[in-house]
Symmetry: C2
Subunit: 211 residues, 2 copies
């Protein structure tokens, strides 16, 4: 049975597929293959609320088990921002849009701050919804780091080139995909969700009617 | 191991205990036994977002597996309202507070509407969070009904005396507790959550560290 990865972000979709492939839980399709669908508005105030909204609404639209994440960067000096607005941070400030503009804006906002005040974490929440749009399993996790004063590395996406994982001495943009997934917020959250899927035997082929 | 039922609403707590007792999954405590804790603000725009907020925050405060629900009444003629505002409906309109005032306000808002336009449903979302505040399992369900022009029955709480379940010819306020739980939004959602708990073996005594 196929599960929908409810994301149009090619960087995320690639990570989902890489991380979940190890679990061997199912086949996947994703929203890049369903361009006909309307975008679901991410109106939640938490990562988990948005992950649940997306998983639930796309599941209902396609009548298909669906998996969605919401994730982003919480910077202590910005009181947890950009948070759920991470992907729209520059656009919200009329400072362009997309990864490069988001990174440039963040650097301007933290300009002059010493290293010890540039602490941050990547946070990820994931949700699995049944074909009727009911969220059943969720998982969340995070990874601690620090925002550099200039980008390093060309891997990953989003704020990866600015996010230093101190224990490794590298940004998540410098880590090979496999190593990034081992320590990343999304890798850890998705593995926890995969473990729950294995324990529950979900998704069930009968669409969860038996529970 | 004890699970916290993260609610101060005595009506809800009683229902949780009655419904989950059958599952035999665990012992329970609830927020009426923890008056020292601050109230968690229900800022979500969906039942599920609020259930997740409450379960997660109380779990973290007490370092304890926690179960929370958010539920309410969605009236078609009011475009799904009072929805997440069900418990605060009269207070939000400066029309008193509590069950009696909420019911009176709803009746005024629907005054003159014929029976066929008084359709509504009770919706319930429940969430289980681990002792670190991470939501793991969720379930949602609903029950269809119609809002009467005057209350019938003294059982249940909230909008129960106004909510006619047509198949039974009775309001949820007229049903004996056991019969109400069999068909109610909360009963169905909690039984689905209990089934997920049984399938996953959660809560684990080690606080979920093994996943």
């Amino acid at each position: 049975m196929k599960i929908l990865i409810a994301s149009t972000n090619r960087g995320k979709v690639r990570e989902f597929r890489q991380i979940l492939a190890d679990g061997g839980v199912a086949e996947f399709t994703d929203l890049t293959e369903h361009a006909e669908l309307p975008a679901v508005e991410e109106t939640g105030s938490t990562f988990l609320a948005n992950a649940c909204l997306k998983a639930g609404q796309y599941a209902k639209l396609l009548e298909m088990w669906s998996l969605a994440d919401d994730s982003g960067l919480a910077v202590d000096a910005l009181e947890g921002k950009p948070g759920v607005f991470s992907a729209r941070w520059a656009a919200m400030h009329k400072a362009g849009e997309g990864d490069a503009d988001n990174n440039a804006l963040l650097l301007r906002q933290l300009a002059g701050l010493p290293a010890e005040r540039r602490t941050a974490r990547f946070v990820c929440a994931v949700a699995l919804a049944d074909p009727r749009g009911r969220v059943v399993l969720t998982a969340s996790d995070s990874v601690e780091g620090r925002i550099l004063a200039e980008p390093r590395g060309h891997g990953g996406f989003g704020y990866d080139p600015l996010f230093l994982v101190e224990a490794l001495g590298k940004t998540t943009g410098e880590l090979p995909a496999e190593e990034k997934h081992r320590i990343s917020h999304r890798g850890k959250a998705l593995r926890r969700l995969a473990a729950l899927m294995e324990r529950t035997g979900l998704p069930l082929s009968d669409g969860f009617n038996s529970i």
